[in-house]
């Protein structure tokens, strides 16, 4: 279980409070107006931002002071998820070990992951030789080999077209099901949230609220969400 115990995260302009729990294996959408602090919440969980008070716990371990690489978290950002000067396979390989020279066994793992996301034989290509959707798949393949407990998505598919985005979300849903990964996903689009997550966390007015059922939330939206949805 991921637990944020009365956390406050201070970003230069505002403070976000969070006191909530997310069950293992859950798929949770994070909804809220822009600028409300959805990304800040993910960054705090990933370790890119200090919490000024409170604790972050995963299962029995305290993550509050752990460095980002030491938390069992894989994160995909809005952009810049791949290193442009490395091949797709090298990019995926970095999920195993911070090196560009992998052992044979590790290379096999990378190839399997690339095949799983639908990119067999694309390992030698550089990101610039891949389409936007293919780049997202490489980043997902890396998250796959990382074998982390939690996957955080900070709108990595925002730049893709609607059909492609749906395709990627379905792939994500499949992968997290297979690996029993806990998924937290920032979303602007209620449809995305409905599509793959049963639960949703509303971030509004400086607070990340405890997760509720996505359908319940949309059926009876609080004022902040109502304004946002229009």
């Amino acid at each position: 279980m991921l637990k944020l115990e009365s956390c406050t995260v201070t970003n230069s302009s505002f403070t976000l409070r969070a006191d909530l729990q997310i069950n293992r294996g859950a798929r949770v959408a994070i909804l809220g107006p822009s600028g409300s602090g959805k990304s800040t919440l993910l960054e705090a969980i990933a370790g890119f931002r200090d919490v000024s008070s409170g604790r972050i716990l995963w299962k029995k371990s305290d993550w509050t002071d752990l460095a980002p690489g030491q938390r069992s978290v894989a994160m995909l950002f809005q952009d810049g998820n791949l290193f442009p000067h490395l091949t797709a396979a090298q990019n995926v390989g970095l999920g195993l070990r911070p090196t560009t020279r992998l052992s044979k066994a590790e290379q096999d793992t990378v190839d399997t992951a690339l095949t799983r996301v639908g990119l067999p034989d694309m390992g030698a290509r550089k990101p610039s030789e891949l389409s936007g959707g293919q780049q997202s798949r490489v980043a997902l393949a890396r998250a796959l080999v990382q074998q982390r407990d939690i996957l955080l998505l900070d709108e990595p598919f925002a730049a893709l077209g609607p059909a492609l985005k749906v395709e990627m979300l379905d792939l994500v849903a499949e992968l997290v099901m297979e690996t029993k990964t806990t998924l937290l996903m920032v979303s602007h689009d209620p449809e995305d949230a409905r599509r793959i997550s049963k639960q949703a966390v509303l971030v509004a007015d400086g607070t990340a609220h405890a997760p509720t059922g996505t359908e319940t939330l949309f059926a009876n939206p609080p004022a902040a969400l109502r304004d946002y949805l229009g």
Partner: protein, 518 residues
């Protein structure tokens, strides 16, 4: 940003910055302690001070005054070769001073091309030595720089303003008053200050074209006090004066100028509607031709006169060539070892002090550092035995401000863009450096390395201070050949130096770009 995690530590950069500051300020202290302030400045010292300021002022005013029409012509004309010409304006920056001086001598010297024409017309030959020779060489080096600085701000005038001016049917004078003058008023003081500061520390030009009681710069006076009179106290005192002067000028230049000069993006030409007058066209063509001739003739002269002797160079030149290559490569390595960690630390946002220490190199004069190192080394070692390592080190420190200006923006971009991803993959320190930072900065690193190698290759400064008769870098060897009136050999060696400097720059710069993708 309240981000706490960083993929790199800033301490190697801090250490490098402290090392540079200690070198520059430490040698300064050594000099200051030696200086006999009580003795004060003698008449010849005052003369040197006056001459230094006078020649720098005239050089700056002339360079900028000539740069304005050239920049204007380049800004509003499109012609084949325009890009090459603008790129060429960057070349004097890495052109060895001694090569340019030899070239200028062959054009404007007593028996140069221009004097030949004068003689055939029954006029006396040109006299290049003295104030006007020094100014001529300085204008040769700084006219291109001033042109680039002014051209850059000219290109920043939004195209909409020219469109609007065309709509309002503004004439040439209204155009100048309303649009061009405000830009010039903004950019000229900066260009003046930069050129003035550069000319203050001029050594090689004054050494070859100046000299004598009426044309000695402070930098040259330090050299003479040191080399001829072995008067360390006086050398130190002059170093102190020089330092106050250069630090003041460098501060002024930094305040008045806003970067640029070695940047790119100068090859855009604006569409304008006010320049179709035949007189404007003719004037622009004339200015561009004159500037191109002034820059290209001395280099052509060197090439023509040097090529014959290139295959029969004296042995002394060949050994000096090897020494110069070694010094240049060592200097490049030192530069990168200092500049890369410093750029990374600045990119991490821990940079104010580090950037200051990088800028110190702009205010410091190589001869002052050299004098200080001599004073520091003398009790523990034979300073003359250290001539080459000291030269490589001082050259690296002098190239540092430029290298930082090239490296820091990209280092910043890499850290901003990739530090979160790297951290989430647990890549820090050495791994982040080798897998992410260095590969992403390859083009900038090669550019900085090319610059450092070429600058060091062509430098005639500290080495003149330290070298004994048996040892010389190529520029010093050329200077000695000139002193012995062996002008054929000097020209051939100068051509070799020109080829090597430019070649080294090209090789390093291109080599790095070759495989750099995306």
């Amino acid at each position: 940003m309240a981000d706490r995690a960083q993929p790199l530590s800033a301490w190697p950069g801090r250490t490098a910055a402290i090392g540079v500051a200690v070198l520059i300020l430490g040698t300064l202290c050594a000099v200051a302690l030696r200086a006999e302030a009580g003795r004060g400045l003698g008449p010849s010292d005052w003369a040197a001070l006056r001459f230094t300021v006078l020649q720098a002022t005239i050089s700056a005013v002339l360079s900028v005054a000539l740069a304005v029409p050239v920049a204007r012509a380049l800004a509003r004309r499109r012609f084949p070769g325009r890009r090459i010409l603008i790129a060429l304006l960057g070349a004097p920056f890495i052109l060895p001073v001694i090569v340019a001086i030899l070239g200028l001598l062959q054009i404007f010297g007593r028996s140069g091309w221009v004097s030949q024409v004068f003689l055939s017309l029954g006029l006396p030959p040109l006299q290049i030595y003295g104030l006007h020779g020094v100014v001529l060489a300085h204008v040769f080096f700084n006219l291109p720089l001033a042109t680039r600085l002014i051209l850059q701000s000219w290109q920043e005038i939004p195209a909409e303003q020219f469109r609007l001016a065309a709509q309002l049917n503004l004439g040439a004078s209204a155009m100048f008053r309303l649009i061009e003058w405000p830009v010039l008023r903004h950019s000229c003081p900066g260009a003046l200050a930069v050129v003035f500061a550069i000319c203050l520390t001029s050594f090689a030009v004054a050494l070859t074209l100046g000299g004598g009681p009426r044309a000695t710069t402070i930098e040259l006076a330090i050299f003479q006090a040191f080399r001829f009179d072995y008067d360390l106290g006086r050398a130190a005192l002059l170093s102190g004066v020089q330092l106050i002067l250069t630090a003041g000028a460098a501060l002024l230049a930094l305040r008045l100028s806003r970067g640029g000069g070695i940047g790119t993006g100068l090859d855009r030409s604006l569409k304008r509607w006010d320049s179709h007058h035949i007189s404007a066209k003719l004037a622009d063509v004339a200015w561009i031709m004159l500037a191109a001739l002034f820059l290209l003739m001395p280099l052509s002269a060197i090439t023509l006169s040097g090529v014959a002797g290139l295959l029969s160079l004296p042995d002394a030149v060949l050994s000096a060539t090897l020494i110069s290559m070694a010094v240049a490569l060592a200097s490049t390595a030192i530069l990168l070892a200092l500049a890369l960690p410093m750029a990374a630390a600045v990119a991490l946002g821990r940079g104010a002090m580090i950037e200051m220490s990088g800028i110190l190199g702009l205010a410091a004069s190589p001869l002052v550092i050299g004098t200080g190192l001599f004073i520091v080394l003398r009790p523990v070692a034979d300073p003359f035995a250290w001539a080459l390592p000291v030269t490589a080190l001082v050259n690296a420190v002098m190239a540092l401000p430029f290298a930082l200006r090239i490296l820091v923006p990209q280092a910043r971009a890499v850290v901003t863009r990739y530090s979160r991803l790297s951290l989430s993959l647990d890549m820090t320190g050495w791994q982040f450096t080798t897998i992410v930072l260095l590969p992403r900065m390859r083009a900038q690193i090669s550019f900085a390395a090319g610059l450092a190698a070429a600058l060091s290759m062509g430098d005639l400064g500290v080495i003149a201070l330290f070298a004994d008769p048996d040892i010389a870098t190529l520029p010093l060897q050329i200077y000695r050949l000139m002193g012995a009136y062996r002008m054929q050999d000097a020209a051939a060696a100068a051509l070799l130096l020109l080829i090597l400097s430019m070649g080294l720059f090209w090789l390093l710069d291109r080599g790095g770009r070759h495989h750099a993708e995306t």
